[in-house]
């Protein structure tokens, strides 16, 4: 069973572990040489220690703020959150998801002991934790990441015995991560340091020595034991909470656009809330960077991103780029949904209800561009409200809003690419990620990799003009919008001329 789980989920497990290791290993050298002099670093540390936004996000930066401490403080925050999210997703996949999709039923029917699936899952999870710890950093920092992963996974598995479905179990797991983050943030900002002992994400703050890892290790074992006990008390495929399967809701859709919107509703709402929260937090965190930039002290990666006439404009533009890359990922996923529907035979059902051939794909494209606009507007509006309170500079609210919403043409262009592929070359739909990847590399690493400006300008993400300066015209934005429309139309035309390709 353990080997079967490893084999079935090897891609998922492998990608997560590699992503985590890459994040920790690749960023470490950057902290060694970000600040040219000791003086500059102390300045930055002082700023960071008194910045409420960074304290909220990363926790307290301990004195004296060596390069290693800064690395643990900043990357550690990202790495532990990612490890916790990984814990939730992996734990549910290994336990309840195999139960819900019927794979476990087959094994249980072939003589597998009832306790074995959970034991095997815990064996795999422990293995992952050890790999994470050793891979990320073979010291206490790595152990903290591994244990954060394992304790979240164990708690999620425990909750998965109670949750009625795998989806609910994931939701419970993410709630644990959210509560952990809130507890850690409260502990660090409100002088309630003891609270960090109770939070998986607070482990990083309290683990000043090896013995401090003990309480959460014990909690992990207890949660795992409790999960195994509870699993014996529930029905196969059902949690301790009964699921509510009956719903009286109706669908009022009479067009493919209305139906696509109805189907995308929940995911669109989740994306909007998540991107608005992340984008705004990111924008609000920039005060330190902007101050440093004013003094001309930011170099390296961040310096390349935020360089320009006005430091505040540079930083907000950078935030817009990051948000745009995330929203483009949404757009590609959303637009290629039509390809998935075609493969599964859902498009057949829609078309045989008397709908025109191009209509479902066009509807999906419309929902995608409207959804992208919604996410960007929400993120821009929230940033425009929050950012002026924490950032110093001129026209912060206007700039924050325009740098976000101004990225809409880029999402439209990438939606066009996806629609073109899904319509005309359906088997190559996955190639829609290529322009996003290229654009992201050109924009984020263009200066560092010394790519000529002419080539860098091909990226869709760096064409939003500074609204306050009003120097560059927005021709590029018009071109990208037109490109999105033209590619989409070509895709629809291609769809008209080909067979539907299910399977």
């Amino acid at each position: 069973m353990t080997r079967l789980l490893l084999r079935r989920y090897r891609v998922m497990l492998g990608s997560w572990v590699l992503l985590m290791i890459a994040l920790c290993r690749a960023t470490f050298p950057a902290y060694e040489n970000t600040y040219a002099t000791e003086e500059q670093r102390r300045e930055a540390v002082k700023l960071a220690q008194h910045n409420p936004a960074t304290t909220l996000m990363y926790g307290l930066l301990p004195d004296p703020g060596t390069a290693e401490q800064m690395y643990h403080w900043e990357i550690g925050a990202f790495a532990t959150i990612l490890a916790a999210v990984m814990g939730v997703l992996v734990a549910v996949s290994l336990t309840r998801a195999t139960e819900d999709d019927g794979a476990l039923e087959l094994l249980r029917g072939s003589g597998l002991a009832p306790k074995q699936p959970l034991r095997s899952a815990f064996a795999v999870l422990t293995g992952c934790a050890v790999l994470l710890a050793a891979g990320c950093s073979p010291d206490r920092f790595g152990a903290v990441i591994g244990l954060t992963f394992l304790v979240t996974a164990a708690l999620t598995t425990l909750l998965a015995q109670i949750a009625p479905t795998a989806g609910q179990a994931r939701l419970f797991g993410f709630t644990v991560v959210g509560v952990s983050f809130a507890m850690r943030a409260y502990a660090d900002t409100q002088d309630a340091a003891w609270l960090n002992w109770c939070s998986p994400l607070g482990l990083r703050a309290v683990a000043s020595g090896w013995p401090e890892l003990l309480p959460l290790s014990v909690a992990t074992v207890l949660a795992a034991a409790a999960a195994i006990r509870l699993s014996e008390r529930r029905e196969f495929g059902a949690g301790l909470i009964r699921r509510h399967d009956t719903h009286h809701s109706r669908v009022r859709a009479r067009t493919t656009v209305a139906l696509s919107f109805r189907l995308a509703r929940t995911s669109l709402l989740t994306w909007t809330v998540a991107v608005a929260a992340i984008g705004t937090m990111f924008a609000a965190m920039g005060s330190g960077t902007i101050e440093l930039q004013r003094n001309g002290e930011v170099g390296g990666f961040l310096g390349s991103q935020t360089g320009g006439a006005d430091p505040a404009a540079g930083y907000l533009s950078f935030c817009g780029t990051i948000v745009a890359i995330i929203v483009c990922a949404f757009a590609i996923l959303s637009a290629s949904e039509s390809r998935r529907a075609e493969r599964r035979g859902l498009t057949d059902m829609v078309l045989t209800a008397g709908v025109r051939r191009w209509s479902p794909l066009a509807a999906q494209a419309a929902v995608t561009v409207a959804g992208s606009a919604l996410i960007l507007t929400a993120t821009g509006a929230l940033s425009a409200v929050i950012a002026p309170a924490v950032l110093n500079g001129d026209d912060i609210a206007t700039r924050a809003f325009v740098y976000m919403i101004g990225q809409w043409p880029a999402t439209a262009a990438l939606t066009g690419c996806t629609v073109l592929l899904a319509g005309a070359l359906p088997r190559l739909t996955a190639l829609a990620w290529l322009p996003l990847l290229t654009g992201a590399v050109l924009t984020l690493l263009g200066d560092i990799l010394k790519i000529p400006q002419g080539v860098q300008d091909l990226s869709p993400f760096q064409h939003v003009p500074d609204i306050a300066a009003a120097t560059t015209p927005a021709t590029a934005l018009l071109v990208m919008t037109a490109l999105g429309v033209a590619l989409s139309l070509t895709g629809l035309l291609g769809l008209q001329r080909r067979d539907l390709q299910p399977g």
């Binding site: 399967d245 009956t246 719903h247 009286h248 809701s249 109706r250 669908v251 009022r252 859709a253 009479r254 067009t255 493919t256 209305a258 139906l259 109805r262 189907l263 929940t266 599964r344 035979g345 859902l346 057949d348 059902m349 829609v350 078309l351 045989t352 209800a353 008397g354 709908v355 025109r356 051939r357 080909r498 067979d499 539907l500």
Partner: protein, 292 residues
């Protein structure tokens, strides 16, 4: 009367693979037409051409007087389609799926939907995710029979249904036919279509094998006669026979049955049985196929 479905020399190729090779098919208005063939014979491909989901490589196709390749939306608005492998949106409830399909078509009969859902014992308040294969099929069957359409195209529609529901399904087909609707019922099981169809078309390897009225086809098939004989009669019989442990067994064409029975009676044969022509035999004869 103009046929509801008329196919002349349909060819459909996917690269080097020929799925349908010169097929002819005519379905008269108001009839229930069985579309039979082994798995992989090209039934579903033909149906997808009729629905305008595939473009024909060659041949003429007319459905309800229109070319489905060019007027797919107009044609399918008049068609209720039930696929063999039903895929639905997992987050929607059965009722929401009925709403969506009815809403897109622009015409529906909610009263009929409610009645059929009750008949099929389908709880439409549950999410599709929680449905079994049979229940997913029921959702689409309810939508298909309830929709105010002229033509029903059913592609192996009973694969997930229990025997009781299969009977109900046959009743629905008869009612649809009585209401003047035309039904094309594809299946690889003869028994499924034998009870409800007036006409059948049998295809194999993408080619037409037999087509016509079921009653005519039965005439083509041979009866099976068995008898226990003591004397030597095998030589006098007009058809070849085999003897196993004193039991004589032979396959007799319909017009020779009286002659054979006369000879057996003369020879004082015991335990004479005569099984009427079974369509199954005719059908199975065409079923031996090479893997494609």
């Amino acid at each position: 009367m103009t046929p509801v479905i008329e196919i002349d020399g349909l060819v459909k190729r996917f690269g080097a693979f020929t799925a349908v090779d010169g097929l002819d098919l005519r379905v008269e208005p108001g009839s229930v037409h069985g579309f039979l063939g082994p798995n992989g014979a090209g039934k579903s491909t033909t149906i997808r051409v009729l629905l305008g989901l595939y473009r024909p490589t060659a041949g003429q196709v007319t459905v309800l007087g229109l070319d489905p390749a060019r007027h797919a939306a107009e044609v399918t608005r008049q068609i209720s389609y039930v696929p063999g492998d039903v895929a639905l949106w997992p987050n929607l409830t059965g009722q929401e799926v009925l709403d969506a399909l009815g809403g897109l078509r622009g015409r529906r009969d909610e009263e009929a939907e409610r009645r059929l859902a009750t008949d099929f014992a389908l709880d439409t308040r549950r999410r599709v995710r929680t449905y079994s294969k049979g229940n997913r099929q029921k959702v689409v069957l309810v939508a298909a029979f309830a929709a105010p359409t002229d033509l029903l195209i059913l592609d192996e529609p009973t694969s997930g249904l229990d025997p009781l529901m299969e009977q109900l399904f046959q009743r629905c087909v008869r009612e649809a036919s009585a209401a003047g609707r035309t039904v094309l019922l594809s299946s690889h099981l003869l028994a499924e279509v034998e009870d409800v169809c007036d006409t059948v078309t049998i295809i194999k390897d993408g080619r037409l094998v037999e087509s016509g009225h079921l009653t005519d086809m039965r005439h083509l098939a041979a009866s099976t006669v068995t008898a226990r004989v003591s004397g030597v009669v095998v030589d006098r019989l007009p058809v070849p026979a085999v003897v196993e442990a004193g039991l004589l067994r032979m396959s007799v064409p319909r017009d020779l049955v009286p002659t054979v029975l006369g000879i057996l009676a003369e020879a004082d044969a015991q335990d004479i049985t005569c099984m009427p022509a079974r369509l199954e035999d005719l059908f199975l004869r065409h079923y031996a196929v090479a893997a494609r």
